[in-house]
């Protein structure tokens, strides 16, 4: 039995389709990253798994249970980290953890957990006085205090500093190592690449692709070369030199539509040398997850991923999809 199953799930808000016949699953002992641009349907999907909303169509199961109908039976087995908030402003970390621990028959030790997420120093500060990163750490601890078998983490590293991100990543890996299923949503692709066993990319509420980060990075798009260099290179001249189209996909990031043969790569570096341009990085064949993501969501949407300001604006203006978020 999979730990979570999303089976032909559709969610509509009025006439807006947030999730459109989506299917995927994950097992115990596995970290699944749900990736997608803002408004792709990530949070709606996860909230259905958490029992906050009913599917408009299709069904979801968590540990074989219906999160709405079997709510009480399921709750001791899951841990939830909301995208933001969830704690009263006057609450102190140690108290919040102790209260939540009392909801479970066999909880983690609250003090140990405070140490593990690095909040011992602020255990008696109130929530309103914690930094954004500290609030995220406490939310994570609250999600873990019941020893969940399935943990849902919505954007867990949002507004967390570098040390915090590393800590959260290692905690997520430990959870899976101990046998839990961790479902995390993120639009931080480096995050997903480092922490996830499997990735599902969704856009417009539809599944774009699913697989391990390695599979996705190996299998797709071997007919292009991506490189970073100074912004504003003369792509027309470079295209002539390579005999293939070149596009600056975002400032300082270039895509060459050619098979990454040794000869083409040599011509590319030769052209850069002639123009005295340093090469920041070069990806040919195996790509970063981000490259895959950008290309696939571009294909599915006719636009590119957020982070590229121009395309985000175009998408917001063009489709009015923001309404689909909630």
């Amino acid at each position: 039995m999979p730990a979570i199953e999303v089976d032909d799930l559709s969610i509509t808000f009025g006439t807006t389709v947030a999730v459109d016949h989506l299917s995927f699953s994950a097992d115990l002992g596995e970290v699944l990253a749900v990736l997608g641009p803002n408004g792709a349907g990530k949070t709606s999907t996860v909230e259905t798994l958490e029992g906050y909303r009913r599917p408009s169509d299709g069904r979801v199961r968590v540990l074989g249970l219906d999160p709405v109908a079997d709510h009480a039976a399921l709750m001791p087995d899951i841990g939830v980290m909301l995208q933001a908030g969830g704690v009263s402003p006057g609450t102190r970390p140690a108290e919040a953890l102790r209260t939540y621990a009392s909801f479970f028959a066999d909880p983690e030790d609250p003090d140990e957990l405070l140490d593990r997420v690095g909040l011992r120093g602020v255990r008696r500060s109130t929530w309103r006085n914690l930094s954004g990163g500290e609030q995220q750490r406490l939310s994570l601890a609250l999600a873990l205090v019941g020893r969940p078998r399935v943990a849902f983490l919505d954007e867990p590293t949002n507004s967390v500093d570098v040390q915090g991100r590393q800590l959260i990543r290692s905690i997520v890996r430990d959870l899976a190592h101990d046998g839990a299923c961790v479902v995390l949503t993120t639009h931080d692709l480096a995050e997903a690449e480092k922490v996830a066993d499997r990735v599902v990319i969704i856009d417009h509420g539809r599944l774009v692709v699913a697989g391990t980060p390695r599979d996705l990075m190996d299998a797709t798009g071997s007919d292009e070369i991506l490189f970073g260099a100074t912004a504003g290179l003369d792509v027309t001249s470079l295209a002539e030199a390579l005999g293939a189209p070149v596009r600056e996909v975002s400032p300082g990031e270039y895509r060459v539509e050619a098979e990454p043969t040794p000869a083409t790569v040599a011509r590319l570096t030769g052209w850069l040398a002639d123009h005295d341009q340093p090469l920041a990085d070069l990806r040919a064949g195996r790509q970063r997850l981000e490259d895959v993501f950008v290309r696939l969501t571009r294909e599915s949407a006719g636009a590119t991923v957020e982070g590229d300001d121009r395309s985000v604006r175009a998408r917001r203006g063009g489709r009015g999809r923001r309404a689909a978020r909630r």
Partner: protein, 255 residues
């Protein structure tokens, strides 16, 4: 962390342990909020002390404290069950606290019972403080019928908490904050808590006779002192105790 056994389901703690943990948390947060302590303890005490010792309101034959003490008890119940509950719950809803609790073994009935227990405990503390103050100011418990006073407190608490949740469950938190304080002031002035209702103009009198706060004050005046209690007061209070929670249950949105 210990490894997870895939074949064993986690269990929730016992219902009583969950309920008490949440009650304790509600109490701590309420007592930590300065404005809530001001509203529930200081304002009733200042009202009772000020108007009992300084003769500015029309109380007819009896001493001021005979009239004021039952009214201030009603005020205390109103401030805790209605205003404090409305404001706290409104912000908890807005900040996702209720939503987050919805994904724990704490059930909604357990949450409501925890909130109820927290209200009752705060009310008990208020009563202790106000009774001491009332006795010091010279209030005499006449033919006190404590059983009926408890019944009225229960009905009043249900009615006011229902109103508070009705507001908190439907309005944005800041609107609830403003509206709850506004209604509090209105009920304080129109309900015969500070001065007899027959001092009000006729049209306002009719209005104030159907308010839960006035009914509660009248019943306290009768059950703790020597005044007469009308059946109308009981009916008004009971009606609010049925209608307000029913309306709240129908309209409450958890996020």
């Amino acid at each position: 962390m210990t490894a997870i056994d895939p074949d064993v389901r986690n269990q929730a703690a016992s219902a009583s342990r969950i309920w008490w943990a949440q009650t304790r948390s509600e109490l701590l947060l309420t007592l930590r909020r300065g404005e809530s302590v001001l509203l529930t303890f200081l304002i009733p005490m200042v009202v009772l002390g000020f108007f009992s010792t300084i003769d500015v309101l029309p109380y007819g034959d009896g001493t001021a404290v005979e009239f004021l003490f039952p009214g201030v008890l009603a005020l205390a119940v109103m401030s805790t069950a209605f205003v404090s509950t409305a404001i706290a719950t409104g912000f908890e809803r807005q900040m996702g606290v209720l939503k987050r609790l919805g994904a724990t073994p704490l059930t909604r009935p357990q949450l409501l019972w925890a909130k109820t227990a927290s209200i009752v405990i705060i009310e008990a503390l208020q009563v202790v403080v106000l009774v001491i103050q009332g006795l010091l100011l010279g209030f005499h418990f006449g033919g006190a019928d404590l059983g009926l006073a408890f019944l009225a407190t229960a009905l009043g608490t249900i009615a006011f908490a229902g109103l508070g949740l009705l507001m908190a469950g439907a309005l944005p938190a800041l609107t609830t904050l403003a509206a709850a304080n506004g209604v509090y002031l209105l009920l304080l002035l129109l309900s015969g808590m500070l001065f007899p209702v027959d001092e009000l103009p006729g049209a306002l009198q009719v209005f104030s006779e159907v308010l839960p706060s006035g009914a509660l004050a009248e019943i306290y005046r009768g059950t703790l002192g020597d005044a007469a209690v009308t059946g109308r007061a009981w009916m008004v209070l009971a009606a609010w105790a049925v209608l307000a929670p029913a309306a709240a249950a129908r309209t409450f949105r958890w996020e």
